[in-house]
């Protein structure tokens, strides 16, 4: 008899082996394992997990169906609230959301909600279970800018309500951060992302790639010349930040966005693709978020000795626990309480990184203890590649070209959290373009709110 206090273990690719390939790390549950894990859910009347989910999936409801082996039914319950369950089952920070609220978690391990969601969603992809389309089309045109999690969710929801939705994507592939940001080994592109997007297409959503709103055309032109009655902006995070330390423009210093885009979107890790990537022999990634983990683990797979430099301690690492755990297992070395002060270059190329040791002081505005440099503790770590993973600042392309669309002091688009309404009539927004860099599921929640807002607006118009 399995220990009911613990999750049914999930099968993973062995750490040493996976550190050298780009195949998915986690294999997920099979039906037997999923049904066994589902038994652990006690089907709380007042289910806290639902409140912990940004899109409020009926979690006990779908888990009860898994328990009985009705996987298609389980998928349909999830599908009512989530357009991308196979994605969320893989990349959501469950430990701080649904699983963090699970009653099981008080005495033992919470129910493995993420892995169960993934199982139900993968089952639907493998068995080609169709989403439920709108019965009546109303023919009213809505434009969605960006095909990332916010845009896809908003487009899917509006299509289900009968709207004629077109998604405009600036890049040559659909999926936004799901294709350029999150690596293959965490989120397979062909098997998962493409298929999830196909489901949105099956709802009748049209997609146009290579359209950079703010350049190729503008929101005003879409509304005035192309007949779109409302627009949802889910254009994502934007411009990468750098530290402003000496040596940052040396060859071999990349933003995490560049490094990951080369590897994920342009598939530079695959030799048959033309885009190059300077893999590096000894790579230092600066930062402690999920993106930093993705970059460090990508460098490892490209054959480098991979290090993370983070200015706070392990407790404050913003990355998902699972990603930190996986990174360590694979051999990424963590230099915590360490901050770069200079990148040392030779003939224009990176040679090393001068760092300073940090200690934690009083809590700062974020509630986390502020890291303070320890005087005289500078030392040099040798390296040939540096990846800066410090977050992003909003891209001004859309806000600067749209009359009446206001931004806040952080240059994020101002939008109502409940319905995505902006300062411009008919224009709604959500996701990183509004909040600054956050998670896939929060963007999906905002896409959903935006769809609701647009539907209310157009119903009254």
């Amino acid at each position: 008899m399995a220990d009911v206090m613990k999750k049914v273990p999930v099968r993973e690719q062995e750490a040493k082996r996976r550190a050298a390939n780009f195949e998915e790390v986690c294999y997920g549950y099979n039906k037997e394992e999923a049904m066994e894990e589902a038994v652990r859910c006690i089907n709380c009347k007042n289910a806290k997990c639902i409140a912990g989910c940004p899109v409020a999936i009926n979690i006990p409801g779908f888990i009860q169906e898994v328990k009985s082996g009705n996987i298609e039914e389980a998928y349909k319950i999830i599908g009512k609230d989530s357009a991308l369950p196979a994605v969320c089952g893989r990349v959501c920070p469950q430990e701080s959301q649904c699983e963090g609220k699970c009653i099981r978690g008080i005495k033992g391990e919470p129910v493995s909600i993420g892995k169960l969601e993934r199982f139900a969603a993968d089952y639907a992809l493998e068995n080609d279970i169709k989403p439920v389309c709108a019965e009546n089309k109303n023919g009213r045109k809505v434009a969605v800018i960006g095909s990332g999690p916010a845009g896809l969710t908003c487009a899917g929801d509006l299509a289900k309500l009968g709207y004629d939705v077109t998604v405009f994507e600036a890049l040559h592939e659909l999926g936004g951060v799901l294709v350029y940001g999150i690596p293959e080994f965490r989120l397979p592109k062909e098997l998962v992302v493409k298929k999830e997007i196909d489901k949105v297409k099956e709802l009748g959503v049209k997609f146009e790639t290579n359209v950079v709103i703010g350049k190729s055309t503008t929101i005003d032109q879409l509304m005035d010349d192309e007949g779109f009655e409302a627009v949802f902006v889910g254009s994502g995070a934007g411009l990468p930040m750098f530290m402003g330390i000496p040596g940052e423009n040396a060859n071999g210093v990349f933003s995490a966005n560049e490094y990951l885009t080369r590897s994920n979107l342009m598939k530079a890790f695959d030799e048959s693709y033309d885009t190059p990537i300077a893999a590096g022999k000894k790579v230092i990634t600066v930062g402690g978020g999920n993106v930093a983990m993705d970059a460090a683990r990508t460098a490892l797979r490209l054959g480098a000795e991979s290090n993370i430099v983070y200015r706070r301690s392990e407790e404050e690492l913003p990355a998902r626990v699972e990603e930190v755990h996986h990174a360590k297992e694979e051999g990424v070395v963590f230099h915590l309480l360490t901050n770069p002060v200079e990148i040392i270059e030779e003939d224009g190329w990176v040679k090393g990184m001068k760092c300073i040791k940090m200690e934690l002081g009083e809590p700062d505005a974020s509630g986390r203890r502020r890291p303070i440099p320890i005087e005289g503790s500078e030392y040099v770590i040798e390296c040939d590649t540096v990846i800066m993973s410090l977050g992003t600042s909003p891209n001004p392309l859309i806000s600067s070209t749209t009359e009446g669309l206001e931004i806040n002091k952080w240059k994020c688009i101002i939008a109502d959290e409940d319905n995505g309404r902006t300062t411009k009539e008919g224009v709604y927004a959500g996701g990183d373009a509004v909040t600054g860099a956050a998670t896939v599921i929060l963007a999906m929640g905002a896409g959903r709110a935006g769809a609701r807002g647009i539907d209310e607006y157009l119903s009254q118009k």
């Binding site: 040559h172 350049k215 055309t217 423009n249 885009t261 030799e271």
Partner: protein
């Protein structure tokens, strides 16, 4: 898919194509660029817009073969397609926003080097169409590498053509032509220099001495071209700017050209390797200094 309507070889290693891209042709302005991606596995290659036809919905691009991808691109013919064609990217040239009457009172000098003649052409043409005549210097290594001289002649005020080896026009670099014009008593209010970075650097060194404000168009390495990756970052004075969204045109006297040139060759070894593989095909057994002879 974006159909190639016309493809021709302009000079040694330099090619011109008209591509069907109605969205881009509708709104693009002089100074902006496009990104092309040939096929599924191709790179995203930034290219300057050489001309555009709003009614026909087409864009003219000119490119030089510098690596495996552009080499492959040069083999495309009319009727073939690009998988992706993205734009217009970057900011339009400043003069597009300026008052036409003020522009007419300005003496402008355009300096075009090699394939840089292509992005200069739509600027000079735009000005000509708005009644502003400007002087143009075109420079190339040798006569066979000169492009667009006839087209330029139709839209430029005075056109001066130079070749490094003296096989056509003025013998010498574009900088010696600028010096000569100034020695003859000619002066300008603004200079726009577009060409290889090394040329733009030396033009800026000279115009700095002549106190001639100079705009350059930077062509660093790019990936997405929309501000997302930061690969194209440049030191402009004491600021870091992204060529794709802040540029591509900058005050040439503030550009750190030495750093920009170092950054531009970052992937040279990788590109060289890809080139060798392409040329040698299955017979490639090492010797490129990179692959160890296994592929």
């Amino acid at each position: 898919m974006y159909k190639i309507l016309k493809a021709e070889k302009l000079a040694d290693q330099i090619f011109l194509m008209d591509v069907e891209a109605p969205r881009i042709a509708k709104y693009c302005e002089p100074g902006q660029f496009v990104i092309v991606k040939m096929d599924e596995k191709g790179e995203r290659i930034p290219l300057t817009i050489c001309d555009y036809d709003r009614e026909a919905g087409s864009i003219t691009i000119v490119f030089q073969t510098v690596g495996a991808s552009t080499e492959k691109m040069s083999k495309l013919k009319a009727g073939d397609n690009f998988r992706d064609f993205i734009g217009p990217l970057g900011c339009a040239s400043e003069f597009v926003e300026e008052d036409i009457d003020e522009l007419k009172n300005k003496k402008m000098l355009f300096v075009a080097g090699g394939v840089g003649t292509a992005p200069v052409y739509p600027q000079v043409k735009w000005l000509h169409e708005h009644g502003v005549d400007v002087d143009v210097i075109i420079g190339a290594k040798t006569k066979d590498m000169l492009i667009l001289t006839e087209q330029m002649d139709k839209v430029a005020g005075n056109l001066y053509v130079c070749t490094d080896d003296g096989t056509y026009g003025h013998a010498g670099m574009v900088t010696t032509k600028i010096e000569q014009l100034y020695e003859e008593g000619q002066t300008y209010d603004v200079c726009v220099a577009i060409g290889p970075m090394i040329m733009m650097k030396f033009v800026c060194l000279l115009t700095g001495k002549l106190k001639l404000p100079t705009i350059v168009s930077m062509n660093p390495i790019m990936v997405d071209g929309t501000g997302m990756c930061g690969a194209c970052r440049l030191q402009i004075g004491d600021e870091i700017k992204f060529a794709c969204v802040d540029g591509p045109e900058f005050d040439g006297h503030l550009v750190d050209f030495d750093q920009a040139m170092k950054r531009q060759v970052m992937y040279k070894s990788e590109e060289g390797r890809a080139m060798l593989k392409l040329q040698e095909g299955d017979t490639h057994h090492g010797g490129c200094g990179n692959c160890g002879g296994n592929n």
